[in-house]
Symmetry: C2
Subunit: 190 residues, 2 copies
DNA sequence: GCAGGTTCTCTAGCGTTGCTAGGATCGCCA
DNA sequence: TGGCGATCCTAGCAACGCTAGAGAACCTGC
């Protein structure tokens, strides 16, 4: 029994190793660097080992994204807790969200842009993902008017996301970012 | 002189053929179908011909995107002109924008999501792209408050874009779309 | 302690991708 | 009509995701 337990433990350990290696590679050298060969090299195993853990490369990236959600959720929570008054709290959460996207651009892409096989807004949504969403929602709750909190959250989130991706891809001028964020808050936090 | 003119004309014709073939392929069969081999097959030339017209595949996709901008611009203009009162006009433009994205999802992706080598908001921005942006801006102008029209337009556009891409990638519930659009208009068209 | 069998991992290779070098072929011009 | 450019295609490169099948390592039972 103990032997199987150890093997299982080692396998789980190696799986974590794969995910962190993929994330490292993604964040330090970009999407093109994340190949199954380079990944296998990093973990010092051969390629097929990857496929004994994950169905394919996209499954690995999904795991990377999930890990990112956990980080994002804690950062958002910290920001919301630290701030006081509702409007300031929402501003803090939005700034934390934007800051995360800026500090981890490729990871953010894996989480929110890349087609990834993760259940969003479903019963089986990963806790980390759900929690990140809830931080946003709690930040917005004070500003609900006649409309649904969920709809409000989804719309605000979309706006924030749009600002970030369009800027990152060079479709929005790189400066004026703060002004756009301020305007967004102005329209939603009243 | 006439011979060279004919050759130049034929080359231009073939270039258009490449772009429309790429767009057809993209819209009818998706991203995976757009390979240089299949493209060469469609235009009934060999692969290297593509590279005598474009620097690479991404340059072809940039041309496809540019063609898309022209279509989008005319649709937006038609929508704005047809509507009367400002709020209704903005709603019409937004709906036209969303409709375009829904009817041409992969083309929209090429235009606004895919990393593409096009100058946005620069002096050398393609006219079609500039025009599409201006339609949005004119729709928003009546709702400028203390802030810049450009900032307002950029922010509203981002929100719209965010709603569309997050929905398409399954990150937002597919229904409730209209409600989110309505909420967005509510926050901006006052 | 040692054979048997299971579990694991690596080598090698498949089919496909974007892209390019080099030779062959075509068509224009004198 | 012969020579010369321009044009185009065949063939191939390196890299990709992924997999079959051989081999090594390990635990188990005698």
């Amino acid at each position: 029994m103990s032997i199987q337990a150890r093997r299982k433990r080692e396998r789980a350990e190696r799986e974590r190793l794969i995910v962190t290696a993929a994330r490292d590679l993604l964040e330090s050298e970009g999407w093109d660097a994340v190949t199954t060969r380079r990944l296998a090299d990093r973990i010092e195993y051969s390629q097929p080992v990857l496929y004994s853990h994950f169905k394919g490369k996209s499954a690995i990236m999904a795991a990377v994204a999930t890990a990112g959600f956990a980080d994002l959720a804690t950062e958002l929570r910290a920001a919301r807790i630290a701030a006081g008054e509702p409007r300031q709290a929402l501003a803090a959460v939005a700034a934390a969200y934007a800051g995360f996207a800026e500090r981890h651009p490729t990871l953010y892409e894996a989480m929110f842009t890349q087609p990834v096989d993760l259940p969003f807004g479903r019963p089986d949504t990963p806790p980390a993902l759900r929690q990140a969403y809830e931080e946003l929602r709690e930040g917005l709750r004070p500003f609900t008017r006649e409309d649904n909190v969920e709809t409000l959250t989804e719309t605000f989130w979309s706006a924030l996301h749009g600002l970030l991706v369009l800027r990152r891809s060079g479709r929005l001028p790189h400066d004026d970012h703060e002004r756009r964020l301020a305007l967004l808050l102005d329209r939603f936090a009243t």
